[in-house]
Amino acid sequence: MPSDTRILSVKGLNVEIPVPGAILRPVRGVSFDVGRGETVAVVGESGCGKSLTALAIMGLLPRQAKVRSEALHLNDESLEAASAKRWRQLRGDRIAMIFQDPMTALDPCYRIGDQMCEILLQHCKMSKSDAIVRSIDLLAKVGIPAPTERLKQYPHQLSGGLRQRVMIAMALLCEPELIIADEPTTALDVTIQAQILRLLRDIQRETNIGLLLITHDLGVVAGMADRIVVMYGGEVVEVGTCDQVLAKPLHPYTEGLVRSIPVPGETQQGETLGYIPGVVPKQVGELVACGFVERCPYAREACRAGAVSLRDAADGRLMRCILPVDGSGRDPAVWFLPEGEDTESTTKNGSI
């Protein structure tokens, strides 16, 4: 991607959390960029480090968590060096975040209008009356009927879909360059999910905002993303355009995910679905083998020889696997083998 359109650039991001007797490393050397007007999806299952990555970029991790990175840039400004004061200026102004559950993200004690105006008074130094006008404008823009009345209501008076629209309106108040949306539709019904995703997409096209979408739902990704960053065990295991990754996943983990999802009209009723055996390992210590080796049906001796690095695959894609990229040596039947006695054995440590 040409550097002039790049909004966010993350390079070698690490998060370390000290716990009694060990240091957890839930995010290890994560790198990716988000361009202007681009949607990048970070996907992975629970515990893969995707939400921590988002919080680290927002500078929202608790103090005991150590964030190290080779580079963490918003436009050309380095975020690692930013002071607490500078962070407060950036958050909500240049970078905005939409959280999963709008009920816990909105303050139940304040009216919608107060919560929205506060952002404008803080960041844009607007007068109260201008702030109200702008808030009404944005509520209307995100498709909330009767916005003037909504301003006077409390969060509990709104439905889940409306609350998430309010969250989106709040994120847009200061015209940010980057929006981080962490599972923005997971708490919503499928019909409302489609509405909210369309709204996000339309607004992004109109304003050319960079969107970092954190989700576990590959269906959402397929509908929204330009590029996909697949995370597993705190590491990036595959990067590519949305269509590339979904049509021909290179990393066995991505392949397992794609094969495990039933799709009406494609998979037949009762057809055996693929699955990934085992559980996500704990992120302790340095990796001395491929992080996925314990769950990978293609695993071989060479996979245990040392940590695997992210390498260039065909068509500008990246993957963290030693298997050939042309798919040779892979028999998809391995994903459908009957479950053995210890397929889902107890948690293993990341340090093997």
Partner: protein, 314 residues
């Protein structure tokens, strides 16, 4: 074939409000007619608030209908006492983190329904271990506590507990929505195998249409306490008659390259069940609504494949 489970005109009202707000009636279910044949799986779908969980609670006997009757094996559900009812109908709940007692071992959890019936001793222990193996729990985990288990393993324990008493009917309320997709597929495979092995009758409640498509033989679509369409799974997924079923199907996002967001999503939000819209309750959101829809509730049409709509898709 005989219906193991049938509901006739089941209605459930709740009284909401009081103290500060005005007292109002919330009609969670309005005249549900439903029947499930032995060995079949019925998928219940609809948005949150449509009454699918109330329906499950009535089937489990923890809630009684305000009107109408529920027949299990041809007899009214009230004619069974609690233990008999539990022998016939067992639930699997959504969240295996809260549905297992954290202070009991896996073995004790699975054995609990049998102990209630007075079974004890070695034969019970053997039975528990056999069943644990059948649902795919590693042998060494039988003595573990729920906190030592992953989400998928916990759901297997919940399934084993439901199955130990050899129930006729299994009621699964969102059995996989708390699980990761790679684990969800394992539980779906397991449920499908158990269903064919044990000839189980299953009610599968889910908002995930892909899950329903995968397991259900028949599908009932609920909207605001009513079944708006019901028929063989294949027919509903291939040619839904009711515009609401169609909208739900269109909202499914397949994880495939080139898939795009649905161009026309269902507008507006789910109405309040306290004061539902007039006529067909779906008309304010319906793309095909006409004047008639606001005035008159459509009657049921069809026999095998039933729908409630004045202007069905054909």
């Amino acid at each position: 074939m005989a219906e193991v489970l049938s509901m006739r005109g089941v209605t459930r009202d709740y009284s909401v409000g009081g103290s500060f707000a005005k007292k109002q009636t919330l009609r969670a279910l309005r005249g549900i007619d439903l029947g499930v044949e032995k060995g079949r799986t019925l998928g219940l779908v609809g948005e949150s608030g449509c009454g699918k969980s109330t329906l499950a609670r009535i089937l489990l006997g923890v809630e009684t209908p305000s009107a109408g009757e529920v027949l299990v094996g041809g007899k009214p559900i009230e004619s069974y006492d609690r233990i008999e009812r539990a022998r016939l109908i067992q639930p699997v709940f959504q969240d295996p983190y809260s549905s297992l007692n954290p202070r009991m071992t896996v073995e004790a959890i699975i054995a609990a329904p049998m102990r209630v019936r007075g079974e004890r001793g070695r034969s019970l222990q053997t039975k528990v271990r056999e069943l644990a193996g059948e649902v795919g729990l590693p042998r060494h985990l039988v003595e573990a506590y729920p906190s030592q288990l992953s989400g998928g393993q916990r759901q297997r324990v919940a399934i084993a507990r439901a199955l130990i008493g050899e129930p006729e009917i299994l009621i699964c309320d969102e059995p996989t929505s708390a699980l990761d997709v790679s684990v969800q597929s394992q539980i779906l495979n397991l449920l499908h195998n158990l269903k064919s092995q044990l000839d189980l009758t299953m009610i599968l409640i889910s908002h995930n249409l892909a899950v329903v498509h995968h397991l259900a033989d028949e599908v009932a679509v609920m909207y605001l306490g009513q079944i708006v369409e019901r028929g063989p799974s294949r027919e509903i997924f291939e040619k839904a008659s009711h515009p609401y079923s169609e909208a739900l199907l269109k909202a499914v996002l397949p994880p495939r390259a080139g898939a795009r967001l649905p161009e026309k999503a269902l507008e507006a939000e789910f109405p309040s069940p306290v004061n539902p819209p007039s006529g067909c309750t779906f008309h304010p959101r319906c793309p095909k609504a006409q004047a008639l829809c606001a005035q008159q509730m459509p009657e049921k049409s069809g026999t095998e494949h039933i729908y409630r709509c004045h202007f069905p898709n054909n």
